[in-house]
């Protein structure tokens, strides 16, 4: 596609529910990254994919968080049993390969009530 696309743009969920966030990277980009940005803060790394593999999951804050990537393209970030502290903007980025320019989607704003 023309750019990185994320859906939904906004998600309000009740505490304890599971949510899935989707990222469509730029076509042909092999590297994909998930970040989280809390209100007024910088970007916190969550997970990195190269193809369908996730060599670096070091940023996932707890075992309630998981992510997968299929077909070397679309990625889904799943948060189970959401908590209020999970409220943030979740950003996805892709790059053609490792250590090249990264491009970000518009983010998903998650609010846990």
């Amino acid at each position: 596609g023309a750019g990185v696309s994320q859906s939904p743009s906004n998600k309000v969920t009740e505490k304890g529910k599971d949510v899935e966030l989707r990222c469509d990277p730029i076509s042909g980009h092999t590297a994909l990254y998930w970040y989280r940005q809390s209100l007024g803060q910088g970007l916190e790394f969550l997970i990195y994919f190269q193809g369908n593999s996730a060599p670096d999951k070091s940023g996932l804050p707890s075992d309630r968080f998981s992510a997968e990537r299929t077909g070397g393209s679309v990625s889904t970030l799943t948060i189970q049993r959401t908590q209020q502290e999970d409220s943030a903007v979740y950003l996805c980025a892709s790059s053609f390969q490792d250590l090249t320019e990264a491009f970000f989607g518009q983010g998903t704003r998650l609010t846990v009530v």
Binding site: A31, Y33, Y35, Q37, Q41, G42, L43, F45, Y48, Q50, P55, D56, G59, V89, L91, A93, D98, L99, T100, E101, A102, F103, F104, Q106, G107, R109
Partner: protein
């Protein structure tokens, strides 16, 4: 991991003024990028600048990799330049970008 320091944290300018934003890294860094986060939260790529100097309109950037810093220059600022400016880079074997805490720029009419 690598530490990224950005300065100043906040900057208020009158329209038409020039400014310099700085980014310091605690270790040698690859893949240095500058982004502008607009009021709607979208991260816009400004420069991919592992080293050297680049210019794009009123904006230019310089990275001195051996000294572990990068500078972003904004000339003749406009109200639409307002937002948060982030620098980010990779270090060592890390594949993800590490971000600074940003510079919040406000340009007044």
């Amino acid at each position: 991991g690598i530490q990224v320091e950005q300065s100043p944290p906040d900057l208020i300018l009158q329209e038409g003024a020039n400014s310099t934003l700085r980014c310091n890294f605690s270790d040698s860094v690859n893949n240095l990028q500058w982004f502008h986060q607009n009021p709607w939260g979208q991260l816009i790529n400004l420069f991919y600048i592992p080293s050297g100097t680049k210019q794009n309109g009123r904006l230019s950037a310089t990275t001195v990799a051996t000294e572990r810093y990068s500078l972003l220059y904004i000339s003749s600022s406009q109200t639409t330049d307002s937002g948060v400016y982030f620098c980010a880079g990779n270090s060592g074997s890390a594949r993800q970008l590490t971000f600074g805490s940003g510079t919040q720029l406000t340009v007044l009419p």
